[in-house]
């Protein structure tokens, strides 16, 4: 009787980890969506940052430690996107396997080739990322490389289900490749379109789909726009005949609206991450949201 009671108690205290599948915590919803697609029912995935949230500025809530202290794997965007909060959470989780360099920690930026690397950056340039722009999930081709990396790590952590992970990854990658082909085809007629962005969130998307960003509403990354900067962008937009302003759905749209009104450019406000809108709840759905919104706006 006493042994039975002890077993029941240890079951609850261990958070049932002995009986569950792989528990994965991702820093963003993009990574959570891909991990769910590859892991299927063999993984339980939660994301720390929500899709409507700017992942630079997540609060390191102690309640995140509850999930992290039981996680088998943490998947991170890297390139210092989460440097303001993730190291604190990983140390606080008191789970050595999740610390950098251990199998339970995966920085997927090691799978991709970053843009905007500026190793000599300093803070006078704003909230810069010396090792490259961390918003690479907006490029679906880099998303494919990330998916491969995640699949590989899931197979390492749970070799008994390696074949299932591989099959689910292959199916996912095939679907994403087909989508990429279609998205590229649909946006090919808008190649070279000049755009103004807000933050550098969509720069990988612009590179991947051959849009041409000529300015940003933030004068420097993370620095709110001034009236003078907005005026200079109006001049630039008129001179360069900019037809489109593309901004994230969590920033103040007033400066962008002013530029649009003064120049006749169209303003498109879009979710910056997976889950940023209800209909964009998976990684592929989010990219479809971006492509279809651009297609619709530029065709009219």
């Amino acid at each position: 009787m006493r042994i039975r009671a002890l077993l029941i108690l240890s079951f609850f205290l261990c958070g049932r980890s002995l009986f569950a599948d792989l528990k994965v915590v991702t820093t963003t919803e993009d990574l959570a969506s891909i991990t769910r697609s590859i892991g299927g029912e063999l993984v339980k995935v939660t994301s720390i940052a929500k899709g409507i949230q700017d992942p630079h500025y997540v609060e390191a809530k102690p309640s995140y430690l509850v999930g992290l202290s039981r996680a088998d794997l943490v998947v991170s965007i890297g390139l210092a996107l989460e440097s303001g909060w993730l190291p604190l959470l990983l140390r606080g989780a008191r789970r050595p396997n999740l610390l950098m360099g251990n199998p339970g920690f995966l920085d997927v930026s090691t799978a991709i080739n970053p843009i905007e690397v500026n190793l000599s950056a300093d803070r006078s340039e704003g909230d810069v990322h010396p090792f490259g722009n961390p918003h690479y999930m907006a490029d679906p081709e880099r998303g494919l490389l990330v998916a491969e990396k995640i699949a590989s790590r899931l197979k390492e952590l749970d070799p008994s289900n390696s074949r299932k992970f591989e099959a689910q990854y292959q199916a996912y990658a095939k679907g994403l490749r087909q989508n990429i082909f279609q998205w590229k085809h649909r946006l090919s007629k808008f190649k070279g379109t000049k755009v103004i962005g807000y933050h550098k969130t969509f720069n990988y998307f612009f590179v991947s789909f051959d849009f041409l960003p000529i300015g940003f509403i933030e004068p420097k990354p993370g620095i709110p726009p001034t009236a003078q900067h907005v005026l200079s962008l109006i001049e630039l937009a008129k001179k360069e005949k900019v037809k489109l302003i593309l901004m994230e759905n969590f920033f103040d749209p007033k400066p962008a609206r002013t530029i649009a009104e003064k120049t006749g450019a169209k303003l498109l406000i879009l979710p910056a991450y997976t889950g940023g809108e209800e209909k964009c709840s998976t990684y592929e759905a989010w990219l479809e949201c971006l492509v279809s919104a651009l297609e619709k706006e530029l065709l009219t």
């Binding site: 500025y57 309640s63 303001g84 140390r91 606080g92 843009i115 969590f250």
Partner: protein
């Protein structure tokens, strides 16, 4: 072309060399620049300047409030290290914290060195992280300007339940300025804390905690401190969390046993309640109410209340200008008012603040 430029920059600017793999990733090898620097501790320097004006003559002036150097890094796979050097008023340099904590022990963090005692909410905060310009009255009077801070060992257990439940116990050197100031050099003081945090929603949390500290005083008797705190915090999860509210309440009771008072002790207790609101990305407002009663440890303030209001302009995470006005009333002196203007600058790789 861009990749070639990056490789060239890495090679020449940082005294190491780079290569591209088949996916176009830049890999960096060798050299004494980037590699050496990446193994350096994260270093940050905070400087706080304070202008004050008020009804008390000693409270008027322009001063360096504090300069603080923070160094932190993983020491090896087993330990994380943190050193905080401070110079109050720009005078002599002191060690505020210097400790190592474990990285490789599951469920529990063990800490050894000099550190701020885990008692209540405010005692853990460095000067630059205080919600208002000055520390709450109850902390200042009961624990002194140096706070509850000493050399010792601490164990911090994350209890494996479905909510955040933290248990902390510490044994520290009892010979410290402030709460204990033990007579015997070998005296050991104890600090214990229990903290819970509940997510009321994605944006709102309720944190409650209780603390206890015990140690010898300079009269070879025992001092006891009991604390209770509750914090409700709301941080918008939209975008950069530009709207946030933190309502913090903390109660501390202290009993100082002395030769004259015997074990009945001299009792003091105090409470503060502060609200800080981020109304826009760059603007904060705040207020704090302090109450302190029968403060035998500081006979100048037998019964004191204080109200403070704060307005802050925060251009970035690395700078802030804060203006605070306050009125202090006691039953022993005339009312005192004070205006404080503070500039905080932070340089380098500042580590994240705890929630």
């Amino acid at each position: 072309m861009r990749k070639a430029l990056v490789l060239a920059l890495i090679s020449f600017g940082l005294n190491c060399y780079g290569e591209q793999d088949r996916l176009g990733n830049v890999k960096v090898f060798g050299g004494s620049g980037l590699v050496d620097r990446s193994l350096n501790p994260a270093i940050s320097v905070n400087a706080l300047f304070l202008g004050s004006y008020g009804s008390a003559a000693e409270s008027v002036g322009l001063n360096i409030q504090e300069v603080e150097g923070i160094f932190s890094a993983s020491i090896d796979p087993y330990f994380f290290g943190m050193v905080v050097l401070t110079s109050e008023g720009g005078q002599s340099l002191g060690v505020e914290e210097a400790y190592a904590s474990t990285l490789s022990v599951p469920h529990v963090t063990l800490k050894a060195g000099k550190f701020l005692g885990n008692f209540g909410k405010n005692n853990l905060l460095h000067t630059h992280a205080q919600p208002l310009v000055d520390r709450p009255l109850v902390n200042r009077i009961l624990f002194g300007e140096e706070a509850l801070n000493s050399v010792g060992v601490e164990a911090d257990l994350l209890v494996p339940v479905s909510w955040y439940f933290d248990l902390i116990v510490a044994a520290i050197n009892g010979k410290m300025a402030g709460p204990f100031n033990a007579y015997h050099d070998e005296s050991v003081a104890g600090v214990a804390r229990m903290e819970h945090l509940f997510d009321l929603s994605d944006e709102t949390t309720l944190g409650i905690g209780t603390s206890y500290a015990i140690g010898e005083n300079e009269e070879k008797r025992i001092n006891h401190y009991v604390g209770a705190d509750a914090v409700i915090k709301y941080v918008s999860t939209k975008g950069r969390g530009d709207f946030a509210i933190a309502w913090t309440n903390e109660f501390i009771y202290g009993r100082r046993n002395g030769i004259m008072t015997g074990d009945l002790g001299e009792k003091s207790w105090g409470v503060y309640s502060s609200v800080v609101v981020r109304i826009q990305r760059r603007f904060w407002i705040g207020s704090r109410f302090d109450f302190l009663k029968k403060v035998d440890l500081a006979p100048d303030f037998p019964r004191t209340t204080a109200e403070n209001l704060l307005v802050a302009y925060v251009p970035s995470e690395f700078s802030a200008i804060r203006l605070q006005g306050g009125l202090t009333q006691t039953n022993a002196h005339a009312d005192q008012w004070q205006v404080l203007l503070q500039l905080i600058i932070s340089m380098g790789s500042h580590p994240a603040h705890a929630y």
